[in-house]
């Protein structure tokens, strides 16, 4: 089970990196979204996968009787999902705004902050 998930996570990462290397902002955005999900799946798998075994200690005992999935990574993912979702929302609006203002979604043409033919500093005075 974990091995299949590891494979799945690696596919997610491959797709995310491929999209992040693109020049078009909208693809980069999709890459960011997939990258966030890849990380969430990674942490989820790292906390052990068991089906239908709640990590609940029976009333008359001090410890779990059998192996169960660790609940902490799942709590970490909850935090990470909220954060990555809000960041994705921000970046989505930013990308839309950049498209409106800069009239392009090609990162090669986004040269307003760093103009291509900027003059060299004066050589003498």
């Amino acid at each position: 089970m974990e091995a299949w998930f590891a494979l799945l996570v690696s596919i997610f990462f491959t797709v995310a990196v491929y999209l992040l290397l693109s020049k078009s902002i909208i693809r980069v955005l999709l890459g960011v979204a997939i990258l966030g999900n890849a990380v969430n799946l990674l942490i989820f798998t790292g906390g052990r996968l068991t089906r239908g075994v709640p990590p609940v200690v029976p009333g008359h005992q001090d410890a779990l009787t059998g192996p169960a999935a660790n609940a902490l990574p799942q709590a970490l993912i909850l935090t990470a999902i909220v954060i990555s979702f809000s960041f994705f929302a921000f970046l989505l609006v930013l990308a839309w705004r950049a498209y409106e203002v800069l009239q392009t979604d090609n990162t090669d043409e986004m040269r307003v902050a760093e103009p291509k033919d900027e003059p060299a500093p004066p050589l003498g005075y």
């Binding site: 992040l20 902002i25 980069v28 960011v32 990258l35 966030g36 990380v39 990674l42 942490i43 790292g46 906390g47 008359h60 005992q61 001090d62 410890a63 009787t65 902490l72 990574p73 970490l76 935090t79 990470a80 954060i83 990555s84 809000s86 960041f87 921000f90 970046l91 930013l94 990308a95 705004r97 950049a98 203002v101 800069l102 990162t107 986004m110 040269r111 307003v112 902050a113 760093e114 900027e118 003059p119 060299a120 500093p121 004066p122 005075y125």
Partner: protein, 520 residues
């Protein structure tokens, strides 16, 4: 653990039962204070005239809290407080040692200076947009990152400061800013995601997120857990946050676009949070792996220094030049981390604190110069010395400080770093440090020559304002005085930094503070 039957669990084994000593509340107070003031400012969103004064008072309070915290840590060693009374490693711990307290205090001083400067730089629309709430939340994130003792909590504070910095960098929504913010936003998000990946791997290998617990277990796990992978990923993630070569390109692309005060705060605070996290993780948590990676870190450091210095040499815009100087300073700090030992780590911490003060002040100076001269461009700025000799003197002192010339704050950390590098025989690293110092002197010297000493062409002066706002001059002067004071009398700071570096390398006091009864 044996599954015994016990109807009444022993709570003292899992919970802190005594009330927390009142002095220990100082550990959490900087974060709680910033969040509370930030929330207050959001509630008062219709009274934007009050915002600056509440924020400046709040930041003054933050400086006071951080001074008290540093005194407390100096007097009684590292202090720990856990959330929800759960004992570590299960409860999230805030642990403050000397390094964290020093960084937090310096950050609060920088933020207060920025708060005062903003009176001259942020207009009504900036206030309505929420500059001051963002500033307070940024400080909550920065303080939390310096004070926390839990690695996932560190990630959360990184995100808090990142989202506030997004709000600050787009403040004003000019074309340039949107362009810079896109690059800043995407690359920083990728960096924190890398940090999150590493944290996931770390938890999978260690089964704990508490820093003291990780430091304890790291040696025992050296044979079985992929610690080199973890360390390399941490170095990449924090190096990206700190703008180290070859992942530094987002910084010079974005730091010159927002308002001057925002650039100044970013230059002083954000890259240094990355550096702090790198020091904390590589020096305290995974020291053996740092030694194995030291050549890579040293190489990255040397290249970062040189890329920064050469980049600064090629710029004709004052603020873009400063962006490259920030990168160059990060290289010097990385060199110290790579060298290690009390000299290297002490030098790295000292350089980081110096760089926080001086880079912020330099950005303030760029803002004042642009107000006086009407432009950030070196080809049109001119004649500032003739018109404002006092301001020119302040800038010249900062130029000396950033180049590492005596008698200013940049001199001592550079001496420590060069000496530490020579001591381990890394002559090429020492040479890179000295050559970078020389290049930085050329950069700042040329800029002073052009913008200050060169006479303005007739008729150019009339367009710009003739006086310097006191709200801009005051923080600039105070930061320059601090840089001069540290340069002239470094002894108290130096001895504090040396004991901070020693306690990072030998964190027994830190561990004792988190686990007072020894191993659970």
């Amino acid at each position: 653990m044996a599954a015994s039957t016990s109807p009444h669990a022993d709570l003292s084994a899992a919970l802190v039962l005594e009330p927390v000593a009142s002095a220990d509340w100082l550990v959490i107070l900087p974060v709680a204070w910033c969040l509370a003031i930030g929330a207050l400012l959001v509630m008062l969103r219709r009274k934007i005239d009050w915002h600056p004064y509440i924020a400046v008072l709040g930041l003054g309070g933050l400086v006071l809290i951080d001074i008290l915290l540093l005194r407390h840590v100096l007097a009684s060693g590292p202090v720990t407080m856990v959330m929800g009374r759960w004992l570590p490693p299960f409860g999230i711990a805030f642990t403050v040692d000397l390094t964290g307290a020093l960084f937090a205090l310096t950050a609060s001083v920088v933020a207060l200076a920025g708060g005062i400067y903003s009176l001259a730089d942020i207009n009504d629309s900036g206030r309505r947009y929420g500059f001051y709430p963002f500033l307070m939340l940024l400080m909550a994130g920065v303080s939390g990152a310096f004070l926390t003792g839990d690695i996932f909590n560190l990630y959360v504070w990184f995100e808090v400061l990142l989202i506030s910095s997004f709000g600050l960098i787009v403040l004003g929504s000019e074309r340039e800013q949107i362009d810079g913010a896109v690059k800043y936003g995407f690359l920083n998000l990728v960096a924190t995601t890398l940090f999150l990946i590493t944290t996931g791997y770390l938890y999978a290998s260690f089964g704990t997120l508490n820093m003291a617990d990780i430091a304890r277990k790291a040696e025992g796990l050296a044979g079985t857990a992929p610690l080199m992978t973890l360390t390399a990923l941490f170095v990449l993630a924090f190096g990206m946050k700190a703008a180290a070569f070859p992942v530094n390109f987002w910084l010079p692309a974005s730091y010159h676009t927002p308002r001057v005060v925002v650039s100044a705060l970013f230059a002083g605070l954000l890259t240094k949070v990355g550096i702090y996290a790198l020091i904390r993780v590589t020096v305290m948590l995974l020291p053996l792996q740092r030694e194995e990676l030291s050549f890579v870190i040293a190489l990255a450091g040397a290249l970062t220094m040189l890329v920064g210095a050469f980049g600064a040499l090629a710029q004709s815009d004052f603020r873009r030049m400063l962006g490259y100087l920030v990168v160059s300073g990060i290289g010097s700090i990385l060199a110290g981390i790579a060298v290690g030992g009390p000299g290297g780590i002490g030098g790295a911490i000292f350089y980081a604190l110096h760089s926080m003060l001086v880079m912020t002040a330099l950005y303030f100076a760029s803002g004042v110069a642009a107000k006086l001269g009407g432009s950030f461009s070196l080809s049109s700025l001119a004649g500032l010395y003739r018109r404002h000799a006092g301001f020119a003197a302040l800038t010249l002192m900062l130029a000396f400080a950033v180049s590492g010339l005596p008698p200013f704050s940049g001199f001592w950390p550079k001496v420590m770093l060069v000496k530490a590098a020579l001591d381990i025989g890394a002559w090429w690293l020492a040479a890179a440090l000295l050559f970078t110092g020389f290049l930085t002197t050329v950069v700042t010297g040329r800029f002073f020559l052009l913008a200050y000493w060169r006479d303005a062409a007739a008729g150019e002066v009339t367009t710009a304002s003739a006086t310097i706002s006191p709200a801009a001059l005051l923080p600039l002067t105070v930061l320059v005085i601090l840089a001069l004071a540290i340069g002239l009398y470094p002894e108290p700071l130096l001895s504090t930094i040396q004991s901070a570096a020693a306690s990072l390398a030998e964190p027994s006091a830190y561990l004792n503070s988190v686990f007072p009864g020894g191993a659970p």
